[in-house]
Structures are given as C-alpha cells and as structure tokens.
C-alpha cells in the first residue's frame, strides 16, 4: 500500500525496499534511523492507551522487540511503517488490558466515548440562518515564530493525547505518521466513511484547542 507523501509530515517518506533489506542484513544505522523516525507516532499512539510516559516508552520498547522478532517473517503486504504501527497498536492495547486488571480503572481511564455525535463547531457561533455570527480569525496573521513555538506544539500534543482512542488512532496514523486512508482502514478494520468521521472530529478538536490558544 502506498504511503501518501504529505508535505507537512515529518515521517512520511516511503521506506524503500533497500532499507528493509538493510535492516534484515543487520545494518545498525538503518535500524536507529527507523526507530528515530517512527518514535513520535508510536509514542503518541501508546500515550492514548497507558497512563503515563514511562509506560508509553515501555510500549515503544516492546513494539521494537516484537518488530525484530518478526522481521524475517514480514511479507511486505503492507509497508513496513504500517506494519510497525499495527504492532504498536496491539502492544498498547494488550498493555492496557493488563493494567486494567491490576488497577481500579474508573479512577485511571477516561471514558472512551464512541465516535461522538453532534456538531464539531458550536452552533452558538452561527446565526439562525446558519451563517457565522463572527468569522474565525485568520491564522495567517499569527507570526510564524508563535505558530511554530514550543508552546503551540505543546497545545497540539495535549489536544491529540486528550482525544478518545478511536479518533486519536486515526489522527496519529494519518496526520502524524502520514499513512493513507486505505492502510488505516485496513489496520483498524473500519469503513472509509467511519475513518473520515473520526478524522474529522479529531482534527476539529485539535483546531478548537488551537483557536482558544491563539486567540
């Protein structure tokens, strides 16, 4: 499956067969580069399933150990990147199941509300005819130094981590890891429509947090 080349994604370039070959041949540098490039999406995915960063890093570690154990059996039916994220998802989910058995979950886990219903933009922002009462700010007026600041990125990160798992998985795979919708639908076993709904709600939530912050 092709990986869509998002110009804005830091991790989107397709892994060439030669890189897979390098890994299998035991090229340490190739492995380290792949680990570095995949770290953000794997970690973000994991953060949604476990309660803190230490546990999320455990998930990262177990993911890579599982990747190594199965690398020789990987059959290129999906891209290596998609395959690795699928493993990360399984590891994170089973880790959460274990945690839930050990801990009173009501105190630890935010409820994973379904896809969510209702509008993604509060209807009070529209008049009775459905037009904007006050038009949204143009972010092109925000200086780039502010737009790309550490603080702004922290807002984005927190907004992503706060999403319900069903939405966050899609957003991380699509907009952070740069997978295409086909790969994401296959991995999560959801329809393209459902994938778009989740993606839309997730992007709209992150947008809302940014709007509040940048106001």
């Amino acid at each position: 499956m092709p990986v869509r080349n998002y110009p804005w994604s830091g991790v989107s370039e397709q892994l060439h067969d030669s890189e897979l070959e390098a890994l299998r041949a035991g090229d340490e540098r190739a492995f380290q580069e792949l680990v570095a490039r995949m770290h953000a999406p794997v970690l973000r995915l994991a953060m949604g399933y476990v309660r803190d960063r230490d546990l999320a890093e455990d998930v990262v570690q177990e993911t890579w150990l599982t990747v190594l154990k199965n690398l020789d059996r990987f059959e290129s039916r999906s891209t290596l990147r998609t395959w690795i994220l699928g493993i990360a998802l399984n590891v994170a989910r089973s880790r959460r199941r274990k945690e839930r058995r050990l801990l009173p979950f009501s105190t630890l886990w935010r409820r994973d509300e379904a896809e969510g219903r209702g509008p993604t933009v509060d209807h009070s922002r529209f008049d009775t005819s459905g037009s904007w009462k006050e038009i949204p700010d143009s972010w092109s007026n925000v200086p780039e130094s502010r737009m790309l600041s550490r603080e702004t990125m922290d807002v984005v990160r927190q907004a992503v981590d706060a999403l319900p798992a069903s939405q966050r998985d899609v957003l991380v795979m699509r907009d952070v890891a740069g997978l295409d919708s086909e790969a994401v639908c296959a991995m999560l076993a959801i329809s393209p429509e459902n994938q778009r709904v989740r993606l839309h709600r997730a992007r709209a939530s992150v947008r809302r947090m940014l709007e509040e912050y940048l106001r």
Binding site: G10, S12, P41, L71, G130, W139, M153, V206, R207, L210
Partner: protein, 82 residues
C-alpha cells in the same frame, strides 16, 4: 449550502470524498464566504502542525541505547547457525 453545514464537510472535501456536484457547491460557497475560508485555512494549519509532531519528538537516549542493544542481540542470534 450554509456555513453551519460547510464546516462539517471540510474533511470530506479535503479527502476527495464529496460528489462532483457537492465539490462545486462547496467551492462556490467558500469563494464567497470569508468565515468558511478562514475555517478551512485553520483546518489545514491544524493538520500541518499535527504533522510536525512527527519530527518534534526525539527518542530518549537510554531507550535508544536499549533498542540498539536489542538490535545487536537480534543480529547475533540471527546469524547463529541453527
């Protein structure tokens, strides 16, 4: 099309999931509506910033070292004749 509905179609639009006639109506609305145009730009900027998370997360050194050790171990096991 009214703004209240247009904002809910943004992702379908960006994903190329709207019918050709809906794309036409969407484009016509956006062309004449400063509010929805600003909202669409905000959505695109949001996607761009979310994408930047991909490069803004350095792997902690101890974890990297641990994984490199695991890789070397995997390599040495792999090369051992069965």
């Amino acid at each position: 099309m009214i703004c209240r509905d247009v904002v809910e179609l943004m992702t379908d639009y960006l994903e190329g999931a709207l019918s050709p006639s809906d794309v036409e109506r969407f484009d016509a609305h956006i062309a004449g509506c400063d509010g929805c145009r600003a909202y669409l730009e905000q959505m695109k900027a949001t996607m761009k910033l979310t994408g930047r998370l991909g490069s803004a997360e350095p792997i902690p050194e101890p974890l990297e070292a641990e994984l490199t050790r695991a890789f070397r171990h995997w390599r040495s096991e792999k090369d051992r004749p069965v």
